[in-house]
Structures are given as C-alpha cells and as structure tokens.
C-alpha cells in the first residue's frame, strides 16, 4: 500500500498532463500547428490562483473562470493564426507563449513576477483530477465520432478538398482552438490549485516540448494516442530511475526511435498497420505501393 501511495504524486502529474496533452492534440488533429496551448494553461493557472488567494472565491468558480479565460484567449489566438500555416503558425503561437511568460514576469504586483505566485491552498486532489481527466477523454471520444471530428480529419488531411466538400476550414480550426483553450485553461487551473505555487517559467519552452512529445509519440489522430504518450513518458523516467543520469538520454533516444519507425506515433501507426493488413487481405490485387503513408 505504501508503495502504491508513493506513486500518487506521479499519478496526479499524469492526470494533469493528460489534460495538457489533449489541449495540444485537438489542434493538431484539426491540422493546425499551434503550441499556444501552453500559454493558455498559464493564463488559466494564474487566473485560478489569483481568484482563489486574492478574492477567496470557491473552487468551482475559480475552475470555471480559469477554463473560460483559456477559452477566451484561445478564441482570440485563433484569429491571427487562421491566416498562417505550418511552421509559421508554430512560430506565431510560440511567440504567444513568450508574451504570456513575459507578462507574468513583469506584472509583478499581480502575478508575483519571477518569484512566482505562492501560498495557493491545495484544493484539488487525485479524485477531482481523475473526474476531469475521464470527462476529457469522454468528450474527446464523442467529438472524434461526430461530424466535427471527421471535419477535423478532412481539414488536416487535405484542406483544399475539405473546403470543396462544404467544410469551412477556418471555422473548423477555430473550434479546435476554442476546445484547446478551454482544456488548457481548465487543467492549468487544476495544476495551480494542486501544487501550492505557480511560476512563469513553469509554462515555458520546456513544457511545450514535453507536451508536444506526448502527442507526437502517442499519436495525433486516435484519442488513445495522447493517453499512451503521457503514460509512457511519465512512467519511463521513474522506471529508469536507477539509471539516474541517463534518464534524459533514454527519453530522447526513445523519441528518436519511435519517430523513425512510427512517424505517426505509436497508436496511429498500429491502427494504420491493422487497416493496411485488412486492406491487403480483402484486396490482394492492389499493390502495397499504392498505400500511402
């Protein structure tokens, strides 16, 4: 029992990062290459922290406010990003994360600046995190099976064709940004109310890489992709703890190996392989070369 309890902080981290991973996943699924969700998590975290400590608002209100703040800024972010594509979109969204980081550093009297914002009561435990994580998975599955999910896929696969099929690509991606913002804000709030303190650099370049790794490693299309990615990358450093100094190296090595042999991520590659095997079995006259990807 004691050993199980000792894994609880790790499990909490898993649940929070699962939410972050889905806020990243949903924009990638819709074919938008934005990493702005980390900035939106910061906005959610500071909103929840400030409302709790300075104004003494109850938990449901602060969580809602954090989520809505993420949603509002996510919606705003969608406007300039809709004009950009690919790597330009990524750079612009990275700039957004930097702006949020700088704002948190310089607005010292509100955010506590570089020292961070501390003295936050711990209002969120494993149970609350679990409820929100499961709720998020449920919503992701529902979206995935809906018309919206198929519109996301069509826009990602071929934007021009999606448009000719009656899909408003800009609007579809804007919806993805809004869902992403809502999730980022919500799980940012949960993080703040779970960990006693927040500081600006916590939502910086390091977190961008970590979250992007979850989704790229696990898969960008299947809802189970981010789950597998987060589980693996959170468990891995712990399992390899005896190797202490080599942990970061092992982390990097696994990413490189998976990217080379499973470029779509673990889950999506396995799903595609199964589909291809079925296609070959049903349709032997079609040459393997015709199957793309």
């Amino acid at each position: 029992m004691d050993t199980l309890l000792s894994f609880r902080p790790l499990f909490d981290l898993f649940l929070i990062h699962l939410g972050f991973a889905y806020s990243q996943y949903i924009v990638l699924r819709a074919g938008a290459f934005s990493i702005g969700n980390v900035g939106l998590s910061a906005i959610g975290a500071y909103t929840a922290a400030i409302l709790t400590v300075n104004y003494g608002l109850p938990l449901p209100v602060t969580l809602l406010a954090g989520a809505l703040a993420g949603l509002a800024f996510g919606t705003l972010l969608a406007i300039p990003l809709a004009r950009l594509r690919g790597v330009y979109q990524a750079i612009a969204s990275l700039a957004f994360v930097q702006i949020v980081l700088s704002a948190n550093l310089y607005a010292e009297n509100v955010t506590g600046g570089a020292m961070g914002f501390s003295g936050i009561p711990k209002l969120v435990g494993t149970g609350t995190l679990l409820v929100f994580a499961l709720g998020t998975i449920y919503v992701m599955l529902a979206i995935s099976r809906s018309r919206l999910g198929r519109a996301f896929d069509a826009v990602r696969e071929d934007e021009g064709m999606a448009v000719s099929l009656g899909i408003n690509a800009a609007r579809t991606q804007a919806i993805a940004y809004m869902i992403s913002g809502l999730l980022a804000g919500l799980f940012g709030s949960l993080e703040a109310l779970h960990s006693y303190a927040v500081e600006p650099n916590q939502f910086g370049f390091h977190l961008i890489i970590v979250i992007l790794s979850y989704v790229v490693l696990g898969g960008r299309r299947s809802v189970w992709g981010p789950l597998v990615g987060v589980a693996l990358l959170i468990a891995l450093p712990e399992i390899s703890r005896p190797l202490a100094d080599a942990r970061i190296m092992i982390y990097g090595l696994i990413l490189m190996v998976v990217m080379n042999f499973m470029p779509r991520g673990i889950v999506d590659t396995l799903v595609a392989r199964r589909a291809r095997r079925r296609s070959r079995a049903a349709n032997p006259e079609v040459r393997q070369a015709e199957v793309k990807g």
């Binding site: 899909i167 595609a272 589909a275 296609s279």
Partner: protein, 237 residues
C-alpha cells in the same frame, strides 16, 4: 434553369482559359462538356464550384449568384464536384470518406444515404473499412462520386470520371451515371471520352480554346460526323 453561366471569362496563371462561355443546365438534365485537352472544361467546372475565381461573367444557380462565394458555401448549396484525378482522403477509411461528404448537407435534406450509395457502388460496401488510399483507381473514382452524393447534390459536377481507368471500369462508372440520370439527378459532366459522354447525356456543349463552338442534343452531335471528326479527332473509342 437550375444553372445559368453567362459570358464567363477566366485566366490561369496568365493564360486565358475561358473567353466568354455561356451555358445552362435544366433541373434533371444531364449535360456533357466535351472538347480537347486544355479547352477550358475543367476551369469552367472549377469556376462553378468556387475553386477558381472567374475574371468576369456570371454563374447563377436559380437566383443565387455563385461568383465570389467561398467554395465551402457553394458546396453547402448542393453544388458538389467530384474532382479530377479521383481525389479521396487516402488515410481515412472508405466509410469515413463517405461520412465526410455529408458535411455539405448542412441542414438540407439528403438525396442519398449510405445504403443508396452502396446500391449504386456495391464494391464500396465491401471495402468500407479499408483505407481509401488502398482502393484501385476505379474504386477511388466511385468513392469520389459516392462522397459527392452523400452531400445531397442539387447539381453534380463530374470532372473526367473515366480518366486513366481501364475500359471495363469505365463501363461500370458510366452505368452508374446512367442510373443517376434515370433517378433525375442534375449532372454537368466533363469528359474527354466524347463518344461515351454523348451516349449517356441529354445535351452537350463542345468547347475549344475557351469558347463554346457548338451545342445541341447529344444524340445529334454524336451523329454529326463533322463534330466528331473536326473537334474530337477520332471521336474517342
């Protein structure tokens, strides 16, 4: 008239592709656009579906002007194109491709459900779980047409449905088109295979160098040796 195109001009990277084309399509009619490669047939179709912006002229569907409307809005009106070169979403399953097609409905009543598409193209039902990219060329063409049907077309635009297909598959595709015509679907068909196109359609326009050079009932054009010889070379096969 369901579709009225008036004096349409369009240029593609500096080259004049359409130089004042006028044509119309009545409800329930199947009209073929034939003519040599580079005559402007595909450009005309792409102008109607909003993929290409014409430089002048009008395109009306009933009373609504299509020019300058975004392509997704035109698709939602039920003006649906099956693009040239069997364009499917290769990494999505056959079923998902068809379901994506229903996005164009946007509250309009469907004309074809999944079962109706599967009745028209039984092979798609057999292959519904497969990735669209793993289908043969002919099956991808059927999928592209089926996907357009899922969007409840009021006007179906077909761009070279026989391009690059084996004769036996061409036959299957044209049988499906004949079935759609019997069902009363309004179709504007672009084809290089003139003989086949004239067999299956009610009326036809012959286009060359961005102009309509002749038009008339398909049966008459098919018997007019000067049309077949002069504008269409051997007249297909």
């Amino acid at each position: 008239m369901l579709l009225t195109v008036t004096d349409l001009h369009a240029s593609y990277s500096g080259i004049r592709a359409l130089a004042g084309v006028s044509l119309n399509v009545a409800e329930g009619e199947m009209v073929a656009l034939i003519g040599p490669n580079g005559a402007g047939k595909s450009t005309l179709l792409n102008c109607i579906s909003g993929i290409v912006q014409p430089s002048a002229g009008q395109i009306r569907v009933e009373e609504a002007e299509l020019v300058r409307r975004p392509a997704w809005a035109i698709a939602r009106m039920g003006i649906l194109q099956s693009p040239e070169g069997r364009q499917v979403l290769p990494n999505m399953s056959v079923l998902e491709n068809l379901q994506v097609g229903a996005n164009a409905l946007h509250g309009r009543r469907p004309t074809h459900d999944l079962d109706a598409v599967f009745r028209l193209f039984p092979i798609l039902q057999e292959r519904q779980e497969q990735l669209a990219g793993s289908l043969s060329g002919g099956q991808q063409q059927m999928l592209a047409i089926g996907r357009a049907l899922m969007g409840g077309p009021r006007l179906l635009l077909l761009d070279e449905p026989s391009l690059g297909l084996a004769p036996v598959i061409v036959q299957q595709v044209f049988e499906a088109l004949a079935q759609l015509r019997r069902d009363g679907m309004t179709i504007l068909l672009v084809e290089q295979n003139a003989r086949k196109a004239l067999q299956v359609s009610d009326r036809a326009y012959v286009i060359e160098h961005g102009h309509v050079v002749t038009e008339g009932p398909s049966r008459e054009l098919a018997q007019d040796n000067s049309v077949m010889a002069h504008y269409l070379g051997t007249g297909g096969h």
